[in-house]
Symmetry: C2
Subunit: 242 residues, 2 copies
């Protein structure tokens, strides 16, 4: 039986219940380390363990909108600052036994945000926090969220190669060195400063100059750095090499 037959001949509401949720792998960079937004679960299953922020898709709400709503609820973000966060669909996870209570298909999303304040505890009893990704082990994570996070991190690493999305981890104006720090943090290895500089400026539309420079030199000396903002390119040609 295929979809067409089914929907023509049956009332879909009779079909075994499937719940659809959106989950968000929200990444940011704090103190030179990649951090992830997690919620400590207050109730079983997996009580006391960390889970991705997420929830049911609301009626009338598109998947991406649901993910952005979940992100807003857990970070307290809104307006322009919420709009600047990059959000893309990561993939759907629907193994039959991934939630012990019922069939749940989760549409995971991936978000890149600049360094954000710690989430304020809202009405939820659950605790939300930015945790360094290096501190995570699958055992502490609820459901299949360890696998989702691993997929999200790999997606993030490869997206930095061929898109300018690294800029989404930074303030609207940034230096080339700050941009390089994003790459080094996400990719996990140092890059050659001179070559990185040359490459970023040579890829069309990656960054554009603001004409301004930082107010001060680096913390331990050095000249003031030129400030750039994100350019208009949505893809980097040619791509950076990891």
């Amino acid at each position: 039986m295929n979809e067409q037959d089914f929907l023509a001949g049956y009332d879909p509401r009779d079909y075994p219940a499937v719940a659809v949720t959106v989950d968000v792998v929200a990444l940011t960079i704090r103190e030179g380390a990649l951090h992830l937004l997690l919620i400590r679960r207050g109730a079983p299953p997996y009580a006391g363990q960390w889970a991705l922020p997420g929830g049911f898709v609301q009626p009338g709400e598109d998947l991406g909108a649901g993910a952005r709503r979940e992100l807003a609820e857990e970070t307290g973000l809104g307006g322009e600052r919420l709009r600047r966060v990059h959000l893309e669909q990561l993939g759907s996870y629907g193994a039959p036994d991934r939630d012990p209570r019922m069939r749940v298909v989760s549409v995971a999303h991936l978000a890149f945000a600049p360094d954000l304040p710690d989430p304020v505890a809202d009405t939820d009893a659950d605790e939300a926090a930015w945790l360094p990704v290096t501190a995570l082990t699958s055992r502490q994570l609820a459901f299949d969220h360890g696998a989702i996070i691993a997929d999200g991190l790999e997606r993030a690493r490869s997206k930095l190669e061929y898109t300018p999305l690294a800029t989404r981890f930074l303030a609207p104006e940034f230096t080339i060195t700050e941009l390089r720090a994003v790459y080094e943090t996400v990719w996990g290895h140092p890059l050659h400063a001179g070559n990185f500089h040359r490459k970023v400026l040579s890829v069309p539309g990656f960054v554009e100059s603001t004409g301004a420079s930082t107010e001060r030199g680096g913390a331990r000396g050095g000249p003031r750095a030129k400030l750039y903002r994100a350019g208009s390119a949505r893809l980097l040609h040619p791509a950076l090499l990891r």
Copy 2:
């Protein structure tokens, strides 16, 4: 309200019904043109229009398994030939009004198959056929399937850059020229034969030699071509350039 609260305090079965389907963008190459498996709908909505093969996720069935089942049902494929088809998740489509009857979230998949026989009409009244992608206009396509197909084609084009999946459009043994024809068909422009040859052989693990050659030269002359099979690489480093 988040997922945790919700599932702890409510019976999810009370939640507004959402149906989850899997759809498959199945691509193959026939006579030098990219073709797509489509089903002509017999019943409203969109009766008479073309739709992607797909259907409801069955209880106990993972998303990828559902997609492979749908592919098997519509192509009549099974066993080793089904297993050789590449299948990956493309993305989920859940706009609230994408199906006029109820909320349907569709998890779209992308398949690459070698040239397959025309689908045999099975018990379904619906007609299944491989159609050239150039012949499609959104108006003839049901639901949001035009957008899903467009996303699938773009995914296919980019996957050929950095994976060896082009080999999945071919028989287990193939010539470099046949492989180049896959790239030219999917990317839509001719490639330099000599440079393509050099590149394919220089990327580690892309192809491995069988030692054998074709029985005959080309249809209009030329030497016998060496035969290769897919190598062990799952990613191409460095990637091909479109």
